[in-house]
Amino acid sequence: MKLIDKLQNFFSSIFQDDKKYDFVLSQETVGNTQPEDLLKKQNIYPSIDVNLEYINARYNSLINSDIKIREFILNAKGKQFKAFIIYIDGLVDTASINDYILTPLMLKSYANQNNSPQIISEAITSNISVRKVKKFNIVDYIYECLLPQNNVKKVSSFDDLVRDVNFGNCALFIDTINFAFNIDIKKFTQRSISEPKNEPSVRGSQEAFVENLRTNTSMIRRNINNENLVIENIVIGKSNQNNCAICYIKNIANSSLVAEAKYRLNNIDVDYILSCSELEQLIKDNPGTTLPEILSTERVDKTCANLLQGRVVIIYNGSPYALILPVTLFDFVSSPEDVNLNYHFSNLLKLIRGIAFFITLLLPGLYLAITIYHRELVPTELLYSIVATRVSVPFPIVLEVLMMELSFELIREAGLRVPSPLGSTVGIVGALVLGEAAVSANIVSPILIIIIAVTAISSFSIPDFSLSFHLRVTRFAYILLGSLCGFLGIGVGMFIHILVLTSLKSFGVPYLAPYSPLSSVGNHSYFLKPVWKREKRANFLKSKKPITQEKISMKWREK
């Protein structure tokens, strides 16, 4: 570069405005959605060129790298037709396409070239041979002789076809035919069936759901050997037309329950849903409440047990969880381990979980109420030690509790979000360093650390994640109420909480059933009965088969 150019550049860079790279999203015109609408709701044309053009436009195949369209000449009984197949690379088994679609359709084998008519029956009378010949039909011939696939459907609507192609099917278009062959040739890499990570069980099954819908339904089928198990598919979403399976046992589940579940699923008008948690929020009875109204599980055995009880299960493609409905509050406090243990042990664990439920919800609030308003409730010696530990703490007790609760929530959130190798570090830093340092620095009293720790441990013993969340959120309300009015405040909270619980319903079943309204508790109480006494299904499910087993199930005991 010449010196003069350098100087020119130098001065221009000094006096020029700063040029910043500034990208702004422009407003798209609304009108461009019209061609997309026109593309939809269309039937397949008889002309292959028009079909090809349509598919190219709909799939943007010129810019889409994984959309594969293969044009070829189809040979059938000596005749040749223009044809093409379309599939998505990565979702199909390409070897099967080569071996069982393209090879039979393209290769000119002797049988395929032989144009002689197909004889159905032949009768010879008085040296006269009478042959019944089947009229040649190219479509039937291709379907019956050239496509050695177990799952081939004739589809006349582009919408249905495109949806299946998106799921990994292959579509075959042939000139002059106004429908396409929809060939199931799916094969894609997926996560293998693994152990349930969030609902572990010592003696229960070690199978958990995966993201693939069909794998999940097959696991249920394997566990429930009953032809009355119905698995219906419903498509949800407009932009992302994803499959969702609704499962129930026809001769056990209440028909109106099944109808209601289908009604809600069929009347979801959303653009897309990506997980069953979103679906859960769209079909629950009271979307405004923080209480869970549908049970979500990754365990296959738990799902099957609920199906056999007469409940309905919803599985969403792409989500490794099944939704169980209807449910009551007590279902969220049940652990998968309960049914696998001796009922004495299960009931002890259930009792402990019940206590943990109340500790999680009330302990910090009660601590505040007692220490601020009801000190006489605390034995004198204990009261002295509480007062002694609080002497050097400068904050009011309510602020102390809120600070510790907030710190604990931070530690928990950080522990969940950091990469797993760092999780334990966060725990150590949070629990040991902060806890110990906070006490040494006289920011909080040691007794409060104990209260918060017991509350936290109790919250971990609640088996359901959503219920645990609800308790965490509501606990703050009890803290405020307890600090404002003592036991009166706690009473306000409890009364409103019970009101909310009694007003809720999950798919027509009262949330506190069978205790409120008081129906027959005996067959489905909070505590488990021995296996041989579980003779009836839950009353509130109004199952078609209320009896599960006869009064005497251990017939071998009878002589």
Partner: protein, 375 residues
Amino acid sequence: MNTEKLGNFEAISLVIIVMISHIILNLPNEILTSTLSAAPLNVIYISSIVLIFFIVLDKFFTPFHNKDIIDVAEYVGGSLLKKITSIIYTIHLIFISGILILSFVDTIKTIYLQNMPTELICLLFILVAILANQFGFKSVSRTNAILMPFILITIVVIFLSLFTDFVPQRIFPILGYGVNETFVSGASNIFAFGELILLFLIRPNLHNSKQAKKVGIISILLSSLFLFLSVLALLLLFPYITGGEGVLSIYMITRSIQFGKFFQRLDALFILIWALTFFSYLSVVISYTLKLNKKATSTNKNSPIVYLIGLAIFIVTLIPQNISQIRFAENVIYKYSSLFIVFILSSTILILGYLKKKKEQGIVKITSEVKKDES
């Protein structure tokens, strides 16, 4: 199907919770003051009277399937009597609930919430009850049914935990001030069951008259039992009840409870249970006052009337100027208004309704016989 129908347990809970709220307040104290050591005997006596009274009235109710006292009033005296009865019942319910809440709030304030204004605590109770009614009658009745066992257990626990401290000799003289005070003037203590007014209003929420009878009898028996236990505990525990401490008589009992050396003052725990009782009581009263008013004014909307009822109760809580006025309202006004409304007005309406029904049925019978003869 009527969605507001109640099961036996829910219906009994509704009636009992209203009764218990009186027992928690100064009802046992009041009975003890008037009859002294004959109080347990007097409770048995007035319970028997109330039970017989109920069984007799239930007979009069039989021709009116699933109808409450307001419907019967309409049948007897048309729209005018219906409206007058509704107004009397509404005023009674609002006034009594306001006074009871104020009495309880005053006690809570004396015990531990000295720095909080009485009006604010009353408002808290009323707001919670209004909120409860926004959830609907079903939720209110179910919440009651959940709380009722705990509340009853509390009274049993109180009685059993003090069993060793009882002095049985305090039951003597068994006739207290004498036969006249126990059985003649003492009969006016049936006002203790004044809240059985609910039994005249609950019938449309029950499935049939048989259930109504069952609910009524069980409610009266259980209420009597708990009143008896409370009175007995007070009598056997304290040498003389002055009632001048300005706190609940049952609360005074709970202060004596101790389990070993570790738990020596458990009275605060009972405050929690009783607060729940009063939330429940107020919700039930507002529910039924709402039903009364909806019936009288032929409206379907809940919200505006609920707020108005809440406001009326709050205004009532502002009327008494001191504790003696509260006690006067609680013991005198409540006593006579209950005696008049529950035992005189309601029974008169019922008897008139019964006679009118019988007369009509008689006319119908005669007419049909005449027609038969003519044919």
